[in-house]
């Protein structure tokens, strides 16, 4: 496999953009990517666009507006991992020697659904019983609290930390710090989760430029190395399952660490899929960053703060940055690009050299999640 580089990143700010459809948001992000990297459309060998609700041929509808029409272009759907899956396919194309310059992006507009919980797949036995994503995470949270002695206050600490991080991020949906009291006073959603334990439904888009070593050297923009790119699907079964251990994350992480030849202790920052605050505990443990059942103590001790042992979601995470489903995995890589190139501004993790991005999702019965993707990025 050839080495793969990230040589550019662009994000359309997340938030509520009612009436601006996914293709338009994606176009804005991709247009900025081309402008900031200085590449011309004929240099692009392939394009991959991730979206869950954007519709058929979304990637063509975005890329043809910036002159990328003719080369292979794919629309990728993998629920919350759609954008990261698009990046993974772009990585495959370059690592495999089939392309030297590829655009991967993710985009979503969720405002069109109104408020409340997102619509899930139909013809699913759990959804026909009233399952929603909030309930799935609420039950994981109840069991985690039961098994390991954590409390709702511990869950709230994740929301307070990540909203504090996002308060400094001009691309975040929520740019205001909150207190533990704010979380406690917010509306109950699915016990024990309250509204401020949950990420918002957001609109937004993000794009990255992936390229070969030779191509990266021709560009004026700084590059970082993509050391690992992994996608895994859920292990389907309907027997007993430990819902405090997201096996899909653990399997993807093991593969990613092996590919990158990196240990969890090498990580300076992680952009993690904190769709609900309990997810920070579940996934930092499955990623090997915290001992089993101990992540809530690490959060309480400040180990996951921006200047802590390893910064978890220094850009604000899904809780603050927002969750335009298909865009999330790509924006995590954009934020990590700026961290590793020293361009993260107020969000900068001091001395950041190794970053991991993690996205997992998909509410279908019989699996932890439908799809999980992990990327590991380094300065050199």
């Amino acid at each position: 496999m050839r080495p793969v580089y990230v040589a550019g990143a662009a994000v359309h700010p997340f938030g509520k953009h009612l009436g601006v459809n996914a293709a338009e948001l994606g176009f804005r992000a991709v247009q900025e990517l081309l402008a900031s990297t200085g590449i011309s459309p004929e240099q692009v060998d392939a394009g991959y666009g991730g979206s869950t609700y954007g519709g058929s041929l979304l990637a063509q509808r975005v890329l043809q507006r910036v002159g990328v029409s003719g080369p292979p272009v794919y629309t990728v759907e993998n629920a919350c991992a759609s954008g990261a899956s698009a990046v993974h396919l772009a990585w495959q194309a370059i690592a495999g020697g089939f392309a030297d310059c590829v655009i991967a992006f993710g985009t979503e507009n969720l405002s069109g659904f109104g408020g409340g919980t997102l619509p899930l797949t139909t013809n699913d036995i759990e959804i026909s019983q009233g399952m929603v994503m909030t309930a799935a995470y609420a039950m994981r949270a109840q069991r985690y609290l039961h098994d390991f002695g954590a409390t709702v206050d511990d869950l709230s600490r994740v929301s307070v930390k990540n909203r504090g991080n996002g308060a400094l991020n001009p691309r975040a949906h929520f740019q205001k710090a909150i207190s533990a009291e704010d979380v406690e006073d917010s509306r109950p959603v699915a016990d024990p989760l309250r509204l401020l334990h949950c990420c918002p439904n957001s609109d937004g888009a993000a794009a990255v430029l992936l390229c070969s070593e030779a191509f990266a050297k021709e560009l004026a923009t700084p590059s970082i190395r993509m050391r690992a790119s992994v996608v895994r699907s859920g292990d389907f079964h309907t027997s007993y399952r430990d819902m405090t251990w997201p096996d899909i994350t653990a399997r993807a992480a093991k593969a990613a660490y092996e590919m990158a030849d990196i240990k969890p202790s090498d990580l300076d920052l992680v952009e993690l899929h904190d769709a609900f605050s309990v997810a920070e505990f579940l996934h930092t443990e499955a990623l090997g960053i915290a001992e089993r059942g101990q992540a809530y103590k690490a959060t309480a001790r400040g180990e996951f703060d921006r200047d802590g042992r390893v910064a978890i979601s220094p850009s604000g995470g899904l809780l603050s940055r927002g969750h335009p489903v298909g865009a999330t995995g790509v924006t995590q890589i954009c934020e990590s690009y700026w961290q590793l190139t020293g361009e993260a501004g107020d969000l900068q993790v001091p001395g950041a050299e190794v970053a991991l991005t993690h996205v997992t999702g998909g509410g279908i019965f019989g699996v932890d999640n439908g799809a999980c993707s992990i990327h590991i990025l380094t300065t050199t």
Binding site: I125, G130, V132, D191
Partner: protein, 142 residues
């Protein structure tokens, strides 16, 4: 509308429900090739793709693995409603709970059939669970 009777409830998952007096059970699949247990039942094992499977009935009692009160959710289920993951003879399934509060982990429960909501076709009923005070008896298991 020329009928004066309420529509019969739609029985969600009705093809898997077995009722005998007060005793409610569910149809599950046991794979003789790899030992997997499946709910809903199936003709081909989703682990090893073997057709060497047996359709079996569960007992009526299980244990709540985790539970929540859904306070914001689909209107058809009339939030707030209580859900639980229930462990039952090797299968874990999601079911409504006949209560107002989330069940604590490991609470013993019993299968029943009852109302779970109402959509534009009329009332919805399905298998659900209710807390029972005593632990499952050995004769209850498969």
């Amino acid at each position: 509308m020329n009928t004066h009777t309420s529509p019969a409830p739609t029985l969600v998952g009705g093809e898997w429900i077995h009722q005998d007096g007060d005793h409610t059970a569910l149809m599950i699949t046991k794979c003789h090739n790899c030992g997997s247990t499946w709910f809903p039942p199936r003709e081909i094992c989703s682990k090893c793709a073997s057709g060497n499977v047996e359709q079996a009935l569960t007992g009526s009692r299980g244990t709540a693995y985790a539970s929540t009160v859904v306070r914001i959710g689909p209107a058809a289920f009339k939030p707030p409603y209580v859900l639980a993951y229930v462990d039952l003879d090797g299968a874990r399934l999601l079911a409504h709970v006949e209560t107002d509060e989330a069940l604590a982990p490991n609470t013993p429960v019993e299968l029943k059939v009852g109302a779970i909501g109402e959509d534009d076709t009329g009332p919805l009923s399905s298998y659900l669970v209710a807390e029972v005070s005593e632990a499952p008896t050995s004769g209850d298991a498969l």
